[in-house]
Symmetry: C2
Subunit: 432 residues, 2 copies
Amino acid sequence: MYNIIGDNMNIVDIINKKREKGTLSRDEIFYVINAYMNDTVKDYQVSALLMAICLNGMIEQEITSLTSIMIESGDTFDLSSINGIKVDKHSTGGVGDKTTLVVAPIVAACGLIVPKMSGRGLGHTGGTIDKLESISNFKVDLSNNDFLNQLKDIGVAITTSSLNTVPADKKLYALRDVTGTVSSIPLIASSIMSKKLATNADKIVLDVKVGEGALMKNIEQATLLARTMVQIGKSFGKETVALLTNMNCPLGTSIGNGLEVREAIETLKGNGDENFKELCITIASYMVSIGKGIKVETARSEVVNNLNNGKAYEKFLEMVAAQQGEINNIDISNKTVEYRALKSGYLNSIRAFELGKYIMKMGAGRETKEDIIDYGVGIILNHNCGDYVNKGESLATLYVRNEDIDTKLLDDIFIIEKNSKKLEPLIYDIIK
Amino acid sequence: MYNIIGDNMNIVDIINKKREKGTLSRDEIFYVINAYMNDTVKDYQVSALLMAICLNGMIEQEITSLTSIMIESGDTFDLSSINGIKVDKHSTGGVGDKTTLVVAPIVAACGLIVPKMSGRGLGHTGGTIDKLESISNFKVDLSNNDFLNQLKDIGVAITTSSLNTVPADKKLYALRDVTGTVSSIPLIASSIMSKKLATNADKIVLDVKVGEGALMKNIEQATLLARTMVQIGKSFGKETVALLTNMNCPLGTSIGNGLEVREAIETLKGNGDENFKELCITIASYMVSIGKGIKVETARSEVVNNLNNGKAYEKFLEMVAAQQGEINNIDISNKTVEYRALKSGYLNSIRAFELGKYIMKMGAGRETKEDIIDYGVGIILNHNCGDYVNKGESLATLYVRNEDIDTKLLDDIFIIEKNSKKLEPLIYDIIK
């Protein structure tokens, strides 16, 4: 897969260069990734370089080189046999983020192609694939042919990748995870974008989550990440738009795999949480806008129309059927426990990160890759941030396998205060 | 050797802390070193931490902790059975630096104990042990008992370490060497001082070389390193003085193992290069000054006296005899090649670093640890920096095994210019 270059290169020289704030050439980055994949450069050398990148950064040219070299480390999808404009979306991950389940069918209902590769969840956030697996028999590992055929037939498919895409990112990410080198904008941006670009859609909309439940804790960092990813997309000739959206509170009312699918269906039927619906409409509108080359306002009318006339929901049902899922058989536990307000006041905060971890520990998520998920457990929020609540009122309904669950930890997650606080906006910024 | 602590510690948290410019606690550093020695923390994690230290530094308290924890990773010498004050010296390494061979016997002749652990050379600088091995049969690996007995008998011994001192430094240094994490003042200082302190002398004089032939290329960096090492010494209750000395030009007239021993002997006999003699007298004076708690001027009189009356040279001969060396049998090649001036002018520079590498490649040094040294090859400088030289005059005599040697490379090392340049001082600063 790689040509052999860099015979006269030395990994220590390259590390020294980045340690001294130098700019790595494309050949140097190529050498590092190539030699790391071949095990001629060692993990202890790459981790030192990654730390130097974390602390000294990378300029645009280095980030573009790294992204393209990572893509070249594996296979890419060939969508050229499919007519129409292919639009992809990606979320950096939040608590209760089932947006893809709603947005993908809406956009397909608007006549665009949505070839969506998704992943499984790890840690406090869930993965779209896990959510879909709560639907009985839903096939999440489409072959390349089935994927292409489904896109041709109904315009939308959500699956894990059947190809060996971006193996360099997999190897690098595993190393970053255990060496304290995750939180680097250039590394995060190139990791996300290499995977998106390997899918080969024509246009990309990114949902960059900001807040305590997200990877990016503040607007400045999130803006920088969004700008970096948009720039990468453009340098590959793919129009890319990023939305900076609020992840200080959980998204929508449901968290947990089966429960989130049910909420997505409600939203597709025109019901459900207004905040969540608004986010889905906005993301879908940008996808349709760049996909069709029309104004966002015009795109929004189309999106709302296809939501209201039931076509988006129909598209979802078509997709579930095409992937052999039994829509009437979604795994949701039948045992529930109420979590009630300790006092009256304003529910000023639901600490999304802590809640995500709580629900992960209930069994809805994975602490390590090997953990097995219980699709049926989770939480429905009966109130969200900003509501006035009365003492004793149910704040959340926990869907459990065992009613003995300890809800004491939730006392530090649902923050009730005397005075109301100003809520942050749903969407902070749009970066094109 | 270690207690088990840090059950609740996590290496990634510690790396993250240093990446975010935090201060590591003694327990955290202890955990890292302990777990690294036990292989429960991996080299790829330690190298990421080392890079974070290179870029974000360490404060005094962290450096002291690291030094003491590294010392505790292995054995230390017990010199308590030896009466008298033990004074050690260390040079950060230069080209033609045979100072120890002269200084150690002078200081012993002044009545102090000089328990000198030395090492072998690597790269462009030589090692004292290699130099001594050019003396036929000289025993460089004294047992602990022989070392102590020799110190009791004659007050001076130069040997490799017979104990397992500072294994943590050996393991860390090997990792730093291949991960671009050598050049960090806290890491260099703790590495040097952990080894010095494991020898357990009462007082320490450090010769920090500055200039193009040295590890420290400028005064600022050298001053910082010197201050850091002096501070470490003091925090262990050992009076420590550092001299910042010039390494822009080679030291003395000889470079190469046997040749350097011969020059050291000439210096001990009161002859030889004045610059080199002055450096030896200065270093010896500081060792005697702190060793006896007397003024430097007073110490200097003693030093000069013992040099002039032949007692220092006698002490050297006693040491060679005690370590079974045959003083009349020093390996020096009998084939020579002259290197002549290409033009007339001022010899404004002899590029020490490049010359060191040239002589290493002649066979006098090691490019890798496995290389075998030729003790008999080297160079005698017939002129040193600052001299006016005439075209065709011999600048250097090369001691070779094969007269076919390519001297063309020396044209870029011996820099002859029309106008004379001001020479830098021999000693820049004294840091106490």
